[in-house]
């Protein structure tokens, strides 16, 4: 039922997100087709496990939890999936900030559903990471101790209601562009989790677009609020694709393992090209004086985000890093009595059953 909660505003570029959704479905079909091709039932008796791993990956088949895999592949996946999960969990905060002040009951209900989805995405991803042999306790602790990162974008504040729209359109839009190729990741549980996540994200992107569309066609004050939100979220959204290809540390190996399919810069370009037309229909300006169509490249030239700022935010010095972490730690501590009570109740019930059985 995703994406059907409301109709897209008139003339909205339906095919932009529809195109991405189409790719998610293609990835899902490919997953089934690869499985149907059979082959790779198990290594031949004299076959080296590493060679077999490479054969499976090269044949576009999936690696599954109990298969042999290189240690570095396992570590890379645990880090990437865990950080992805942490991002979903921390990502509830900027938007959660507006649940109590949403301008109507309809908007509040939609935003609640969206924030609940983010929690769900975090849980799908934690479950996928756990198939690699790390426990949920460890994963949660890695986040709470600050030993693993989450996406830098969530360290920016949501100052107005229009920010909720800008997050949906730009931040979720960038996330989809980043994540759609992950539906084809060589690790089965991650690929399957991403298919589920991407289908739900398209609802998020459209709800954001609709909020901005409504504001951009409202009073001058509402238009100004929408423009201000886009002005503040544009460059941080471009930075979500990570450092430029030359400086990206994990790319080449991840490409060979088919964890990653496109370079940071390729995905960033794709996002910019999508947004220009969508901004036009919103009637909002992308805050880049040098944004223009390049006929030769068949793509838009654009100004790069400030990567020094990105590094600062990643290092903990963004506007909201401390607030986000303090909030997460407090929420975890405050929930402790619930976990303990549920465990005590489960133990009591198990005890009762044993007594009856005896």
């Amino acid at each position: 039922m995703y994406g059907n909660d409301f109709s897209a505003p008139n003339g909205a570029p339906d095919d932009a997100s529809g195109g991405l959704l189409g790719e998610v479905e293609a990835a899902e079909a490919e997953l089934r087709a690869a499985a149907a091709r059979g082959r790779c039932v198990g290594p031949a008796p004299d076959e080296d496990l590493a060679a077999y791993f490479t054969e499976v990956v090269d044949a576009e088949q999936k690696i599954e939890p109990r298969d042999w895999m290189p240690d570095a592949y396992r570590r890379t996946l645990i880090r990437q999936i865990a950080q992805h999960a942490h991002s979903e969990i921390i990502g509830m905060q900027p938007e959660g900030n507006w649940i109590s002040r949403a301008p109507s009951l309809k908007r509040k209900a939609i935003l609640l559903a969206k924030v609940q989805d983010e929690a769900g995405h975090g849980l799908y991803l934690y479950a996928a990471a756990e198939t690699l042999g790390i426990s949920r306790d460890e994963l949660v602790q890695l986040l709470l101790d600050g030993r693993q990162k989450y996406s830098s974008i969530f360290n920016y504040p949501t100052l107005s209601w229009a920010d909720v729209g800008a997050i949906g359109w730009l931040v979720d839009g960038a996330a989809i562009v980043n994540q759609v190729p992950l539906c084809r990741c060589s690790y089965g549980p991650y690929a399957r989790a991403m298919i589920r996540v991407c289908k739900e994200e398209s609802f998020h992107q459209r709800q954001g677009y609709e909020i901005l569309h409504t504001l951009a066609h409202g009073t001058p004050a509402q238009q100004a609020m929408a423009q201000d939100a886009v002005d503040r979220w544009w460059y941080p959204s471009l930075a979500m694709f990570g450092p430029p290809d030359g400086d990206s540390t994990h790319s080449a190996q991840s490409m060979a393992w088919k964890i990653k399919r496109f370079s940071n810069d390729d995905l960033r370009q794709r996002f910019v090209d999508m947004c220009v037309q969508q901004a036009g229909i919103l009637g909002l300006r992308i805050p880049d004086e040098d944004l223009r169509w390049n006929d030769e490249r068949q793509a838009y030239d654009y100004t790069q985000p400030d990567y020094d700022e990105l590094m600062q935010v990643i290092s903990g010095n963004g506007p909201c890093n401390r607030e986000r972490m303090a909030h997460r730690r407090a929420a975890h501590a405050d929930g402790n009595w619930v976990r303990e009570a549920a465990a005590a109740y489960a133990a009591k019930r198990a005890g009762q059953k044993e007594t009856v059985a005896a």
Partner: protein, 94 residues
């Protein structure tokens, strides 16, 4: 959490007439909460009409790493497939 909350595998029947399919896993202290969590986590968009939750520890799995393949005995019995047999021309309903 793992200490109080074991892992459960979740299976969902999408519609009547289909079998339950594995959709993922979650943590819960007992079976009842596992079912409720599974509903909230895996069927927020009417993806199912029935859910099974199974303690992950109760599942015994074959190992894909076994060099002498566990599934080998099935490999040389092509006569189990209907395509193995030659059907004379003109035979109907076979």
């Amino acid at each position: 959490m793992t200490s109080h909350s074991p892992l459960w595998e979740v299976f969902v029947r999408a519609r009547r007439g289909l079998s339950h399919t594995h959709v993922g896993s979650l943590h819960a202290p007992d079976a009842e909460l596992a079912l409720r969590n599974a509903r909230d986590l895996y069927t927020r968009r009417q993806e199912g009409v029935s859910i099974w939750v199974v303690p992950a520890g109760a599942i015994t799995a074959s190992s894909p790493d076994e060099k002498d393949s566990f599934f080998d005995p099935a490999a040389d019995k092509v006569y189990r497939h209907p395509t193995f047999y030659e059907v004379p021309d003109g035979v109907a309903h076979l």
